[in-house]
């Protein structure tokens, strides 16, 4: 009897060992980056993301029908229009404020070229990650010009960067992810630093030259130093300045974009290379 039980249990252990070896192998291959395992991910994304898109559309249609015809007839459209208008105006205000500050700052500079964003691609968010890491899935991929490290943003602020791309879908790592870091500068003083995600709703200031003049309400913009996000896009606002821990004060930054309610995002596939800003003293008459 005992022999029969032992014999029948064997396949279970074989199956378990095979499964564990396969998964451990996948993990270690990624850790050592010997073999590119991204094709597995691309294959699964290409197979499952269309289903997510269909489910998302069906869900959105049901919701839209409710919003438009049952709950609030006509009000929804007006609200959507006003939201769009508001987003556009906010972006314009930020850009103009930036332009004024920039103009004042670079009057004496020679040969400065403004960094611009060319043809941003509008993508729809179709799902959030099913494994509780801070990622979203969007319905644009390599076929639309997206690739790893493509910057993703909304008019309110930056959202994140593409980390995996299949032909028609991409996984975007949000800036609040614990593996995310963004090069930033303070809008008022142009002091540069780095903010990092911590997996929570806020960002942590990881580095800055001098934190003595930082205060609540200060705005951080992208510095362009990370070569992912173009310069001058809103990142977040300081919500708390805590006591010094190590070299820096504990500073929490609330992202400008509402990362919990993303529906459409813009992807930057092309941007002008930032021209190196010359030394401000250069070209001025020597006393």
């Amino acid at each position: 009897m005992s022999r029969i039980v032992v014999a029948s249990k064997k396949p279970v252990w074989i199956a378990l060992t095979v499964a564990l070896v396969v998964h451990t192998g996948l993990i270690s291959l990624q850790g050592r980056r010997r073999i590119d395992t991204s094709f597995i991910r691309v294959w699964i994304i290409d197979s499952l993301a269309p289903l997510e898109k269909i489910a998302d559309r069906s869900f959105s249609r049901v919701r839209q029908s409710w919003d438009r015809y049952i709950a609030l007839i006509g009000v929804h459209d007006e609200n959507e229009r006003l939201k769009r208008e508001n987003d556009e105006l906010r972006l314009q205000v930020v850009q103009q404020r930036e332009a004024v500050l920039e103009a004042e700052r670079i009057r004496v500079l020679v040969g400065f070229q403004h960094s611009g964003i060319e043809n941003p691609i509008l993508a729809r968010v179709i799902a959030r990650d099913p494994a509780r890491s801070q990622t979203i899935t969007i319905d644009k991929g390599t076929a639309h010009g997206l690739k790893t490290d493509t910057a993703v943003f909304t008019p309110s602020g930056i959202v994140g960067r593409v980390i995996h791309s299949s032909n028609y879908f991409s996984i975007v790592q949000l800036i609040i992810d614990s593996q995310s870091a963004v090069g930033v500068m303070l809008q008022s003083t142009r002091r540069q630093g780095i903010v990092k995600g911590n997996g929570g709703p806020d960002l942590d200031l990881d580095y800055i030259d001098d934190d003595s003049d930082l205060k609540e309400g200060d705005t951080f913009l992208t510095s362009g130093g990370d070569r992912i996000y173009p310069k001058g896009l809103p990142v977040g606002i300081i919500t708390s300045v805590g006591p010094r821990r190590g070299l820096l004060k504990t500073i929490e930054v609330r992202p400008s974009a509402d990362l919990g309610r993303l529906e459409e995002v813009l992807c930057i596939t092309q941007q002008h290379e930032n021209a190196e800003v010359p030394d401000p003293t250069e070209g001025q008459p020597v006393p």
Binding site: L16, H23, T37, A131
Partner: protein
């Protein structure tokens, strides 16, 4: 005829597993609270307990985990490994303990949920691409998630009991 039945059963299982992963992605995008649920984990425990077939459970756990990893920023294999182990333990427990008791189910679901979070985070940190919560509220997130998973799992098991009582 027997082969057709087998293919049909496998097809149904595959559809159910894909639906679970897709629903998890859609629901956590549409409703923030679903970010705390881990439907694939509940599915692993559910199939582990109800099928009491370790080999089938291992395959289900592996497939669910791999799909979950692919559709997220998580390291490929982390959820796969974790869900495989959970499905195996659930199936083994299903054959040895009285898993039709509410207390056993609560205990198992809560522990499996915490274990899954812990293992995935450790694996991700070992590879150096940890994307799980590393902020101070990580433990509270795990506890909240374990509570939600336990409650949802109990509802699911309740329906299963009702359905199996009705058919027998």
């Amino acid at each position: 005829m027997r082969r057709i039945t087998t293919i049909r059963i496998i097809g149904r299982f595959a559809t159910a597993l894909i639906a679970v992963v897709v629903m998890q992605g859609i629901l956590s995008f549409k409703f923030k609270v679903f970010g705390y649920f881990d439907l694939p984990l509940i599915c692993c425990v559910y199939y582990g307990f109800t099928l009491s077939n370790p080999i089938a459970s291992i395959i289900i756990g592996s497939a669910l985990g791999l799909m979950q990893d692919s559709l997220s920023g998580a390291v490929l294999g982390a959820n796969g490994l974790s869900k495989t182990l959970i499905a195996f333990f659930a199936a083994t427990a299903g054959g040895k303990f009285a898993v039709d008791q509410v207390v056993t189910r609560v205990f198992a679901l809560f522990l499996f949920s915490l274990g899954d979070d812990l293992l995935v985070t450790i694996l991700a940190l070992m590879v150096g691409s940890g994307s799980g919560p590393t902020y101070s509220g990580a433990m509270s997130t795990w506890l909240l998630s374990a509570t939600f998973n336990t409650l949802f799992g109990l509802v699911l098991f309740g329906y299963h009991d009702r359905w199996s009582n009705a058919t027998t």
